[in-house]
Symmetry: C2
Subunit: 469 residues, 2 copies
Amino acid sequence: MASKSVLTPQAEDFPRWYQDVVAKAEMADNGPVRGTMVIRPYGYAIWERMQAEMDARIKEAGAQNAYFPLFIPESYFHREAEHVEGFSPELAVVTHAGGAQLAEPIVVRPTSETVIGEFMAKWIQSYRDLPLLLNQWSNVVRWELRPRLFLRSSEFLWQEGHTAHATYDDAAAYAKRIHLEVYNDFLVNVLAAPTYLGIKPPSERFAGAINTMTAEGIMRDGKALQMATSHELGQNFARAFDVYYQSEAGQAELCFTTSWGASTRLVGGLIMLHGDDNGLVVPPRLAPIQVVVLAVRDEPDVNEACEKVATALKAAGVRVAVDHGRGSFGRRITDWEIKGVPLRVEVGPRDLAEGRVTIVRRDDAQKSAVALDAVAAIAPGLLESVQAAMFESARRRLEESTHDVTTIHEALDVAQTGFARLAWSAVGDEGEALLRTEAVTVRCLLRPDGSIPVSDTEAGLHCIVAKSY
Amino acid sequence: MASKSVLTPQAEDFPRWYQDVVAKAEMADNGPVRGTMVIRPYGYAIWERMQAEMDARIKEAGAQNAYFPLFIPESYFHREAEHVEGFSPELAVVTHAGGAQLAEPIVVRPTSETVIGEFMAKWIQSYRDLPLLLNQWSNVVRWELRPRLFLRSSEFLWQEGHTAHATYDDAAAYAKRIHLEVYNDFLVNVLAAPTYLGIKPPSERFAGAINTMTAEGIMRDGKALQMATSHELGQNFARAFDVYYQSEAGQAELCFTTSWGASTRLVGGLIMLHGDDNGLVVPPRLAPIQVVVLAVRDEPDVNEACEKVATALKAAGVRVAVDHGRGSFGRRITDWEIKGVPLRVEVGPRDLAEGRVTIVRRDDAQKSAVALDAVAAIAPGLLESVQAAMFESARRRLEESTHDVTTIHEALDVAQTGFARLAWSAVGDEGEALLRTEAVTVRCLLRPDGSIPVSDTEAGLHCIVAKSY
């Protein structure tokens, strides 16, 4: 393929392949301030689709969107001890505004537990106000010394959910519901991303959380990527921000809170989970463009046939782009492959004479000749086949890259190229320290049947050990 | 009505009425950092509806969404002389990040012409890349000394469109298209907001623009609010950021750019344009909740009937909330009136026995008895009647508050309570200076037939003079 020369092959240099795809698929550019990024229209269209799919699931789970300020007084961060310790090294600080030095420095939000805690305290009076279920779509800033587009950027876009509950059980159940019904449902059914669902070991929890659930996906190079996290915050932030409610019995009681987030990092995950040497491969349910109709040559009857096919596809509810035949056909194919559009419909003068077009799948390059009039009827089912095949293929890679081992040294070995699974009891603090010397971490703890544990102290837990982004 | 005691009457103290509505309708709160705001779920749901409606129109006009960084190097602002002069007093500046002092201070974007100019220069090679039509939904920061929720906040949410074109004519035509097909269409058909469409006098232009189009609406207190603006930037930013393209003839040519924006200020406009002494009045096409179904009492058969009505309304495409009968009926009516929900369906045990419910319009308080089974069939048409009546009533207020005058002194007099219209040639620099001594400004210049002039130098122009937010 022509595209072989366009992108660095994955096997040759995976990080460079990633950079090439981000640039050539016109996903993003580096911003002028170190670590910031410009998300280009195609990359942003993918993010908008992620937002729409997650937002619908968040609303279905009963949370309401709101918006809290970008600027947070620095003093707020000092109210929760672990939180300030965890975030201090990453904060960007505004010291001047409106032409004058500020009396108190202002932090550009790295996450919003603190400021939202302040308002939860104001809005919650009685048990009738609970649960309070909020979500916010916003930008956040965490200063990055080794930035990487989408994966680690000083500014990124995300949603952060924040909820308050009357009881520990209710908070834990809601965090788990979000993890399964919002994140995992989105990952499995839209992003075609199988993951290990589990909890973080205490050393890897969110700063201020008592429990952090994660979804760990496997990238094409065998490294893990944390796709989304859901935190039980216990009463830590409620205590720091006086989030009390009056119980039915008339007592003042401290709330239990949760927070949960997923970010533009998922775009990086999409690239590395499904991408190949020809570029991005976007699952059909996510794709902003599901089908591209390509004119082989720029001729009136070919273009007309393309428009006709596109109109029929749109009427069938398919997201379509038309590429009229300007410029080299091969080059245009390469460009659409790099962008990972799931199906390509090629319309040429010769095929047209026979009333046929060619449909090419991006995931497995299979071609089929189809009657011009049948494209719109065939495409929706074919898109669903691609979606299913992509999930199945990613699931197989996850399974084949996971190896059961019994010792920490075996785990270290396996983690050079994939995921090691072993007994959590075989790791311990010393084991974690040893893993870290080779940039390997415990990605998550899970039960032998794959379900999510309630706590890291449960007996018989397994853990997944890997290198990660 | 009970609500009379809840809100300060408009006639008594309009600014306090505004504050009361924002608080009691649970629209927003002041943030902890001066001038910032917390947009609460109901206020945010209204903003989301505004976003959805404007975003669809922006995409229809061919622009694509993208995302540019929050942080801009301070030096960028110095490249366009008028721009830096206009924005310097309002900038928030990051001087520390990642635990260290920064070599160059970073500005938190007040608007993105500069950083987007930088990337336009990178992405545009030839005339084939033009026009480049971009839009961004984001937060921006302009330090406010006298902040007011939604109307003037140090951080606000908005969309900012940025486009580059090969010719002056193409840029001017596109800016006008956006102004009419995105903003005015949204204002008229969704927000039910009649405005004066015109251009700003040179003294009131956006910093760096050669022409600024505006839409000036009238608030209930007779003051003007600028609802959206569209700027022709000429070649000012293209020159500052080297945005060149290669013409068909192979020459390097400077682009012409535009920018255009509308913000959460529109939520303030919504409140002050349609609100009354009972609270907010939301036009049905905008309303996140178009119909609230109220149980008069918390009884099983009443609640069941409410759910039945709500289900039928949802099936008819109506956005519905159900209020089961907990707490005082009068108090609940007051709360829904404050929130401005266009239609209220009251379901009581007595009506129910007769198979009837009562529908109450928020805009004119008209009540009608309707068969339970007929609600879903009647509501969509009734909502459209409310929408039309709200626009007509706002249009009449705009017309009745506008008075034609001939001298600047008459204009000053009229502008104490409404809009003065007079010949632009009767104003001049001295006239503008005189108006400003009483906080009155020229809101826009327009042609005698109400259409938008191309330039402030056109002969025979009128102008609208008013106090403003």
